[in-house]
């Protein structure tokens, strides 16, 4: 087809630009974070004025991947967060947290992990890679609990299965307990998150994926660990605030407290199509 008139040429150019723009938009699977924007979440949040001394959830292992070019990661996890104490709002992230879950980074294979962002401004954020997860379908237990037996308090992290053939543990200690100066006050958990985090803005061919995972037995510790070494808990009885960026998708399959629902409800996540 020949374009005879200047108007026709402009129309053709406009159509070309429009199509190019549209094509470039659909070629990205999702847009979940670059150095100036945040990640995407499919999570449920509970907040309370009183302290959460710990958090626990059963999470189903699922197949997940993030190939070269995915530009980030995808995970299923739980967080215990303090974004109100002065020693936490003053750190490099403006909050402290302890988290535990299963993660796959760009070009990597899934791994159990736990991480913390501690009070203070030294090596605030520390991520621990533990080992290869149990096969998909396994229900693993993820526990974070404040240890009141030591001063300053630490947080203990456990990832384990029923038989304890998988059992990893870690200790989140405040900065300064490694021998460099006096320890800062430990964080005070006031928010619990469960769900999925997704990062990256890949082309469709390189997007991350994660099958549907169930988060059940959503419970929280009502006191710090003492000599009895027991996780004394209450179950979540109401759904919290849900964020679902689609992707990742996060939603309640069964609300906490609903008739027939498992203890703490059944929250599900999946990604990315």
């Amino acid at each position: 087809m020949q374009i005879q008139s200047p108007i026709g040429a402009r129309l053709a150019l406009g159509a070309f630009l429009l199509l190019s723009f549209a094509f470039s938009e659909v070629s990205h699977a999702y847009s979940c974070g670059d150095p100036s924007s945040g990640h995407c979440y499919g999570v449920n949040a509970w907040t309370q004025a009183n302290e959460y001394f710990g958090a626990f959830a059963n999470i189903t292992q699922v197949a997940m991947s993030c190939p070269q070019g995915c530009g980030g990661f995808v995970d299923d996890e739980i967080w215990l967060i303090d974004d109100s104490s002065a020693n936490c709002t003053g750190n490099q992230f403006g909050m402290c947290w302890v988290e535990a879950g299963t993660l796959v980074n760009e070009g990597g294979t899934p791994t159990y992990f736990w991480a913390d962002a501690r009070p203070g401004t030294g090596n605030t954020f520390n991520l621990h890679y533990l080992g290869t997860p149990d096969p998909p379908g396994t229900v693993d237990h993820y526990m974070i609990v404040k240890d009141g037996r030591v001063n300053p308090n630490t947080y203990l992290v456990f990832i384990y299965n029923d038989s304890q053939s998988t059992l990893y543990s870690g200790t989140s200690a405040v900065a300064g307990t490694g021998g460099c100066g006096s320890a800062l006050p430990q964080m005070t958990g006031r928010r619990i998150l469960i769900g999925q985090e997704l990062a990256g803005a890949p082309e469709v061919a390189n997007d991350a994926s994660a099958n549907t995972a169930d988060f059940t037995r959503n419970i929280w510790a009502v006191q710090a660990l003492d000599a009895g070494y027991v996780f004394w808990y209450n179950a979540q009885t109401v759904a919290g605030g849900v964020t679902s960026a689609s992707p990742p998708v996060g939603s309640w399959a069964q609300n906490p407290g609903a008739p027939g629902a498992p203890e703490g409800g059944d929250f599900t996540t999946r990604c990315c199509r």
């Binding site: 150095p35 991480a115 384990y160 900065a175 460099c180 998150l193």
Partner: protein, 172 residues
Amino acid sequence: MKTTTLVLGLLAICSILSACHRIHHPEGAVRMNLPTGKPLQPQGMRALEVKPGAEPFTRDDVTKFIQTHRLGRSIGDISQLRADSLEFLPAREATSRLQGASSGLTDEHQVGLAIIRGPLYFTGPPPSKPIAFASAYALFDAKTGNLLMSGALDKAPGGKTGGQSPAGHPDR
């Protein structure tokens, strides 16, 4: 005999009461036992090939790895990252450099601590935004080459810094 029995009985009751006093059972809470088995030693994530000799892997090996494999929970261009230093040391010493952040390995287990020049961007849980860090670290198992830990160090210029850096020098 009766006196001995009485004393032993009283001692037993005191012991039970003492134990009950130590273990606080909060009202309305449900009991769940913590796992009691022996935890596995962290294996980390497969990362570097270990070579025979005094130095199992080099700073260049680390640079190649971080330019092709994203450190956990970071975003941004990884092609320009480089390892500024790599030091082999006992896990206990690495924990001290990292201000108490422990790899979970035994004290004498050899690890490789690499300081990485960024920028790298790490993000917390919502509603946080990515924070730029001028430097970060990666900790490798010297025996297997696996990646055990990674994390943020100094915030990028314009941000706050503080404390003692794991390289043993005061933060800039």
